[in-house]
């Protein structure tokens, strides 16, 4: 076996194969830096070239690309607060506040090194488990998967921001939003309002962008300055490295979380960063800095998401079951190359598997090195006046959002959820808890139903299930205890947000209670199996939200931790004016199509809000227009059209 490992390494280290891997790595970094594109876009860019390539070189190229995307997408999470792929959503929570503090360099280097170690660990796990992968994967049935989702949900307790009821209500809200679309047990459409778009459910990319990126962007625009408030860019590279070294056991533990959840097919990998984030929270003594720029909050998720890839490859290679969208594409690439995944990958085609492992390891090291070289230049962005950055952010966010299904509805969904995100942020409803609920919603329901169908109540007595129950209870206990003692808030400072006028909070909470009531009523339209979950979640949500409402309605003195309003001491008109600009961009798209709207929006926004001179306007608009065009051309994209396109047949890119 060692022979084979070494011979595949030597086989990989030829000039042309390494060159193809470098192509993959370069494209991966480029794609990773642009939020919302991620591995799926990168692989679909590469697939046409794979056709007819030498298999080893092609595999090296594809793995090279996949390996660096979760490293490179850290840039946008840390520097701009935009979580591109789902792999970087948890990084935003602490990475972005660090950048705002002027510690972008520190956050990035900590993240990159953590990523690299995680990636290498993933490769190691893959090596060690190739032979035993099949029995390992087979030991996770629906019952175990259900307990894993419950374990994921239990982490909400630690992220509730000091008010457990509010945290549970936020997670329930996420669960309800995750229920949109076909019910797993019966295929009935729930909460779809008879719209074809909603029958697929809401897209995670869009929810992530709307809940995290948009509210931050509007808030930054209000400040008027740049992202980084300090002036200390150069500092922190070594500090970040030291942070990672100091947190070496955390890195290792989170890598294990990433690799294990990756190996288990059926649990979405988007939950991995959150599991490791909560793990980082739970195992840190001084929790006061979480949500405000704690390096451990960056290191945990970053080491996990690179390790996930190694684990994720396991079910893809051994069973032909892709655990994620990018794995599905990788699988397609393998089929195009004539490589069939299956038991043979641990046997006859073991050389291919080892090539994949080596590529993974080498690409991780190269990718980290490249990111570190690039970082100082990219990090400067945080010192540019934000009004000049904002239109680019809006461009990137809308562009990323319509990658989801490439329809105008993606943009509408983004806008509506963005408004929800603004309120969640303002009133301190944990957005992390919301997202965990959203991500786990259908899986929780699906696996509970399947476990009961397959095994009846006996599913609770399986040994692995009992272990997971113990883990879940432990995680709950830690979370609740810590909530009482020193609460962490991922949404901002509690002291700064104690309001005297409570009616805006009361109104929002009332709307939330009403929404849960609606979910319960709407749920009852379904057959029994599809009704159970919405009604239970709706009741939990309604009760917890009503508790919050009760506390808030009794006035500031009584409300305590339920009282939270970041606008409590605001002097200006709030973020709504900028939200309106963003809505304007989308309305304009509906009228004249995305590309024309984009150009027009840039000119008007830069003139009116940024007060740029015409030369600057011209240069920035040309940059945006040119880059978008280049990318769309390379990816064969059509932009969402508007009313104008419905009546006139315009040439691309206006089409």
């Amino acid at each position: 076996m060692l022979d084979l490992m070494l011979s595949t390494l030597v086989g990989l280290l030829t000039v042309d194969r390494m060159m193809f891997m470098m192509i993959g790595v370069t494209v991966g970094i480029f794609i990773g830096v642009l939020p919302g594109l991620g591995g799926i876009a990168g692989l679909s860019l590469m697939l046409p070239f794979v056709y007819g390539m030498e298999p080893i070189a092609a595999v090296a190229m594809l793995i090279g690309l996949l390996a660096v995307v979760p490293t490179a997408d850290t840039f946008s999470s840390v520097l701009m607060g935009i979580s591109g792929g789902s792999s970087a959503q948890a990084t935003v929570v602490d990475g972005f506040p660090m950048a705002k503090r002027g510690e972008a360099a520190r956050a990035l280097s900590a993240a990159f090194f953590a990523s690299m170690i995680g990636g290498l660990f993933g490769a190691l796990v893959l090596t060690g488990t190739v032979i035993v992968a099949r029995p390992l994967i087979l030991s996770f049935g629906s019952a175990e998967l259900f307990m894993l989702t419950l374990f994921g949900l239990s982490t909400v307790a630690a992220l509730s921001g000091g008010n457990l009821a509010k945290g549970i209500a936020a997670a329930s809200l996420g669960l309800v939003f995750g229920m949109v679309g076909a019910a797993p047990a019966t295929g009935e459409y729930r909460l779809d309002f008879d719209m074809l778009y909603l029958s697929d459910g809401l897209q995670l990319t869009i929810v992530g962008l709307a809940i995290f990126a948009l509210p931050e962007m509007f808030d930054l625009l209000r400040g008027g300055g740049s992202i980084a408030q300090g002036q200390r860019l150069g500092r922190g590279w070594l500090q970040g490295l030291r942070d990672t070294f100091a947190a070496r056991w955390l890195v290792l533990r989170c890598s294990v979380i990433g690799a294990v959840v990756g190996i288990v097919p059926g649990i979405g990998n988007s939950v991995v960063p959150w599991l490791s984030y909560t793990h980082a929270v739970q195992t840190t003594k001084d929790k006061s800095q979480f949500g405000k720029g704690e390096p451990r909050g960056v290191i945990g998720p970053e080491s996990a998401n690179n390790a996930t890839l190694g684990g994720d490859l396991m079910p893809t290679l051994m069973f032909g079951i892709p655990g994620s969208g990018s794995m599905a594409l990788f699988l397609a690439g393998m089929v195009l190359l004539g490589l069939q995944p299956g038991p043979a990958m641990a046997d006859r085609h073991l050389d291919v598997t080892y090539t994949i492992i080596w590529s993974l390891a080498i690409a991780n090291v190269i990718g980290t090195a490249l990111c570190i070289v690039l970082a100082p230049q990219i990090a400067r962005l945080t010192f540019v006046r934000y009004v000049l950055v904002a239109p680019f952010m809006m461009l990137i966010i809308t562009f990323a959002a319509f990658q989801a299904t490439r329809s105008f509805s993606d943009l509408l969904a983004l806008l509506v959820l963005g408004v929800l995100g603004m309120f969640l942020r303002r009133f301190g409803w944990s957005r992390a808890a919301f997202l965990i609920g959203f991500v786990l919603s259908t899986d929780t329901e699906r696996y509970l139903y399947q476990a009961v169908q397959f095994q009846g109540a006996a599913f609770l007595s399986r040994p692995l299930v009992l272990v997971l129950i113990a883990l879940t209870l432990f995680s709950l206990w830690v979370g609740i205890r810590q909530n009482k003692r020193n609460a962490i808030s991922t949404e901002g400072d509690i002291e700064q947000s104690r309001a005297k006028v409570l009616w805006p909070q009361v109104a929002f909470t009332a709307v939330v209670v009403g929404f849960f009531a609606f979910a319960i009523i709407d749920g009852q339209k379904n057959s029994f199996l599809a009704m159970l979950f919405p009604v239970i979640v709706g009741c939990v949500g309604a009760v917890t939200a009503a508790m919050v409402l009760f506390a808030q309605s009794r006035g500031p003195a009584f409300a305590g931790t339920a009282n939270f309003d970041t606008e409590a001491r605001a002097q200006d008109k709030g973020p709504w004016i900028f939200a309106a600009w963003f809505a304007g961009l989308i309305a304009l798209t509906a009228l004249i199509g995305f590309y024309a709207a984009l150009l027009l929006f840039f000119v008007v926004f830069l003139r009116v809000i940024a007060r740029s001179d015409w030369r600057q306007i011209l240069v920035l608009t040309a940059c945006a227009g040119g880059a978008t065009l280049g990318l769309a051309w390379a990816l064969n994209l059509v932009f969402p059209g508007g009313l104008l396109q419905a009546y006139f047949d315009l040439p691309w890119p206006l089409r």
Partner: protein, 360 residues
């Protein structure tokens, strides 16, 4: 929208007149980009299939146009099909690759469907096949012992009663086998694992997965094939699948079970759904009102592509061992795969509503 349609129609008519006047001026797509529209996201069967054909079509279409794959995902392929039906122009600038998940809602009369197969014309139909099998835990070791399964409960992990799984659901119902369906599977791979793990004991797999994943399990004695869906021959009679000629067809299994050939609206419904889902799974189509020379050029390009030694050498699991239906064969297979008699449709809708909680 209306305006474009009308203009395009006028244009097409003008082209038609011009071509007949010039007596078959050669069609050329030189310098053009032609879109192969696929109503699914990247990856997945249809996308791989389209990406496999795109370069070959580029080579064989007159003028060697650039053929690109455009994915319009959503609504289990209904979104993309609706959109293409609404927006496509009859000039050959785009053609469409629907699949079983597009055919079945149309056949079942899903109210979200806004497309009509009779307005399209097939260029090629790529068949695939499938096998229904049980785990050896059921106690049988050979497919011809199927009668021993009577009265036992089969547990079948399913992705949903209105998708591809409608075919085994109807087949097992007609055979009179008592089957409990556990829904919510996210792919055939998950279902296969559920059987391997012992949670379930019956399942079906399509040809590529059968050959690579299941054949080893059959050899190991863990899985027992019951029947395949077969392929219709030129006369429309179901023959054994060329990929696994040793496995009997559903019709043979039915005769073994009941001692007679299957008939009635239930069988008609099964036939329609099974051909739509497997033998006629992947057609490529143009709008029917596209000028005849353009349609002819596309049909010839597909015929040349499937005869291209390079394509044949690379076909692997993407096309498998199935003869690719082009020309008149494509018309016949396409017609069978996209039509269902009103009685059979009523029967299957009623069946799904009463037995599987489906609401139409």
């Amino acid at each position: 929208m209306i305006r474009i349609g009308r203009r395009a129609l006028l244009g097409a008519a003008a082209v038609g007149v011009a071509t007949s006047a010039r007596a078959q001026a050669p069609v050329s797509f030189a310098g053009r980009t032609i879109e192969f529209v696929i109503p699914f996201a990247e990856a997945g069967g249809s996308d791989v299939w389209a990406r496999f054909f795109a370069p070959a079509l580029s080579k064989h279409l007159p003028g060697n146009p650039n053929v690109i794959v455009r994915n319009i995902p959503g609504g289990g392929s209904i979104t993309g099909a609706n959109e293409w039906a609404q927006r496509a122009r009859p000039d050959g600038s785009s053609f469409f690759g629907p699949s079983a998940s597009t055919h079945l809602p149309y056949l079942l009369g899903d109210r979200r469907v806004r497309y009509d197969y009779t307005k399209w014309t097939p260029l090629i139909v790529s068949p695939t096949g499938g096998v229904v099998y049980v785990s050896s835990r059921t106690g049988i070791t050979r497919g011809d012992q199927i009668a021993q399964l009577r009265g036992r409960e089969l547990v079948f992990p399913s992705q949903g009663a209105t998708g591809l799984d409608i075919v085994p659901i109807l087949a097992l119902h007609l055979l009179g086998l008592n089957t409990r369906y556990v829904y919510g599977m996210r792919g055939r791979g998950e279902a296969r694992i559920a059987v391997e793990r012992g949670d379930a004991n019956a399942d079906h797999q399509t040809t590529p997965a059968w050959l690579t994943q299941m054949v080893p399990m059959v050899r190991a004695g863990a899985a027992v094939p019951l029947f395949s869906y077969g392929v219709p021959d030129a006369q429309g009679n179901i023959q054994r699948d060329p990929s696994f000629p040793e496995i009997p067809t559903f019709e043979e299994a039915f005769r073994l079970m009941h001692g007679r050939a299957p008939d009635g609206p239930g069988y008609a419904a099964y036939r329609a759904c099974s051909v739509a889902a497997f033998a006629g799974q992947k057609p490529a189509v143009l709008l029917k009102d596209t000028p005849a020379p353009i349609i002819a050029a596309f049909r010839k390009a597909f015929a040349d592509a499937v005869a291209d030694p390079d394509v044949i050498a690379r076909r692997g699991d993407i096309l498998g061992d199935y003869p690719q239906a082009v020309g008149p064969a494509a018309d016949a297979l396409y017609a069978t795969a996209t039509t269902i008699s009103p009685e059979a449709r009523d029967w299957v809708r009623n069946f799904l509503t009463t037995q599987h909680n489906v609401r139409f």
